[in-house]
Amino acid sequence: MEDRVLPLLIAALLTLAAGAPVAFAQDAAVPPDSTVDVIDSLDVEDADLGVADEAEEIDPALRLDGIDEQLQTLQGEVDRLKKFKFSGYIQVRYDVAEADADTVKVAGSPATITPANQERFYLRRARFKLTYDHSPWSQAVLTIDAGADRQARMLDGYIALTEPRTPEPRHQLWVGQFNTPFGYEIERSSSLRELPERSRMENVLFPGERDRGLKVQSLWAERFEATVAVINGGGTGSAEFPITDPTRGKDVLGRVRALYGTIDVGVSAYGGKATVPLTGPDVQLDRTRFGGEAQAYYQLPKFGGGSLRGEYWAGHNVNSDSTKANIVSPTTANPVTLLRPGTNPNNLATDFAGYYVMWVQNLTESYQVAARYDRYDPNVDVEHDQYERWNVAAHWFYQGLTRLTVSYEIPITDRADGAGGYVDPKDNLWTLELQHTF
């Protein structure tokens, strides 16, 4: 867009400089290289407009110098404005969900249950990203989201200091609020993701995806990337402590990746403390996570690129279900929240495991299909608490920036049927989504 604006501004400025009170609509289409031609034509325009006498009194060289000075000023202004970069996307959805027990699941992180409303339009994401690019030294980034029927909120807000010596910064320091650098899926933009939502394990373990702190990212060798971060822990989507960190110690995590273009592999590790808020002494527990990831890319003749991806995570985490089971909820008579008698505080956290495998295939450059199976077990020592899901989607890309998606999601969970058995509730979900990026 800037390429179109600049010639227009120059043409307008030349018009003003020549004293001509009309816009050169036709000249606006002339390429910037033709500036000299426009200048050469000014005398004719002046004569046509009846201001030739005044123009003749001005030394042409002085006039050119004046125009040049104004152009330099304008160029400086344009250069400053070009440091601001705007981008974003809007996702509008229509959901049709199977409902069970008069409720319907609304996709999100984490998923929520709302009163029955099986078919709905909604705005899942409406994001606006502003970057001030002070290359090669630094960037400031602010991302606002106004989707999911929420009020506008900040998603990203960070400063990135970059190493200025190389054209592509190999070493960066980020400070602020940013995506937690653990695994592959978290840092991947929702506008690029081939399925409407991330995997269940990601939704549960990293609610909101983002956290506050600092991270250092380095491309040490051509194909070797390492990231280390120190963050509050818990994430911005944490129910108890979304912004603040109740623990003095910070959570530390790291990720290393080997990048070969067609096959990328990586491992991540996370260590920190989680707090179970109680009235009385809170309980602090270890929060540890380990992850492995791999992505393989291939080409199918006539169809285009495809990829196979997968991640496996395991660790020790405060599990909300087990927490609830061991905490006496406050009542009017007893307004304190305490552990049930005899509860071992260490049992509030459980060993979890989760993974997903995913396939994406482009069908020419306008269509794409994707399928994923993901599984999350919040407590590997307990049966019937795991979450499984199949998700398939097809995309149609229109003119590059618009994407139409049809997705079908099949969650598989066990719900006690009251007769000693378990049933899978009816909660499958059709999603039709239109996305436009800018």
Partner: protein
């Protein structure tokens, strides 16, 4: 649970089937089959690509090739968001750009060298300075040398002209001459090579850089790799044998292995006929 999975999977099957049937109906043929092949990117390559397109369309009745400039960065962005079939670039794609392309199309792209170019350094025709070494050139563009007197010229301030940062030529110059450092704040950025040539042609103290094919009304400087080494002008011979210091490849980038009309055009460009035209326009053939 298996029965539930089976029933839900069966319910999903019509979707997959409908999509599979709908794709051909929607026209799962490459977009370029209908509107011709589109090229976007490097301003350095615009003249050359337009000549290629004209000649190709003359020789292949009914084929359409559309060429627009904007700079290598703009062309690569268009390749990533799917709004051009071929990106023209006077520099290699960066890793970050390849990652963006892979995120959308699951491919790292295909690089096709299509010609060689000598990046010329222009001065005004009346400028007595005939040659520079790369270190002098670097110091001029970093703002460390600001007077022509320092390189054997008249006692006059050097006016430095350059390109915008969306330009592949800008990136190439920054990488190879300035070693990644930033241009002097005194550098006047201009939107195209022709604009640089125009500016230098009218400025007795100007210096600029751009494709050798554009050097009309200005004079090329001979360049040497260092002090005391022979300075050479950008000619077919010096670019071909690498003795001219600022020799680079010009590229086409496509998302997938070329097929259909894209392959026909790219094959023609690297054919003896296409390469001969490159020489005629002022660039240099691959071999």
């Amino acid at each position: 649970m298996r029965s539930i999975l089976r029933s839900t999977a069966l319910r999903a099957l019509p979707l997959v089937g409908a999509l599979a049937c709908a794709l051909p109906a929607l026209g799962v043929t490459p977009a370029h089959a209908a509107r011709g092949v589109t090229l976007k990117g490097s301003d350095t390559m615009v003249i050359l690509a337009q000549r290629w397109a004209e000649m190709y369309m003359k020789a292949n009745h009914g084929k359409i090739v559309q060429v627009t400039g904007g700079g290598s960065g703009t062309g690569i962005a268009a390749l990533i968001n799917g709004t051009t079939d071929i990106c023209m670039a006077s520099r290699e794609m960066k890793n970050a750009e390849k990652t963006k392309l892979r995120d959308r199309f699951q491919t790292m792209g295909v690089e096709i060298p299509v010609a060689k170019d000598g990046l010329a350094v222009y001065v005004h025709a009346s400028n007595p300075v005939k040659s520079l070494d790369l270190d002098q050139l670097r110091r001029i563009y970093l703002g460390e040398l600001t007077n022509w007197k320092a390189v054997g010229g008249p006692d006059a301030l050097i006016t430095v002209y350059g390109r915008e940062n969306s330009s592949g030529t800008y990136v190439y110059f920054k990488d190879h001459i300035l070693k990644g450092k930033d241009f002097s704040p005194r550098t006047q950025t201009l939107p195209g090579t022709a604009a640089v040539v125009n500016a230098v042609a009218k400025d007795a103290n100007g210096i600029g850089y751009g494709g050798a094919a554009y050097a009309k009304g200005v004079r090329d400087l001979a360049l040497s790799f260092g002090a005391g080494k022979p300075a050479v002008l950008p000619t077919a011979a010096t670019v071909a044998d690498g003795s001219y210091p600022l020799t680079r490849y010009l590229f086409f980038y496509v998302r997938n292995k070329p097929a259909g009309d894209i392959k026909l055009f790219t094959d023609w460009v690297v054919s003896p006929e296409g390469q001969a035209l490159a020489t005629k326009v002022g660039y240099f053939p691959l071999k």
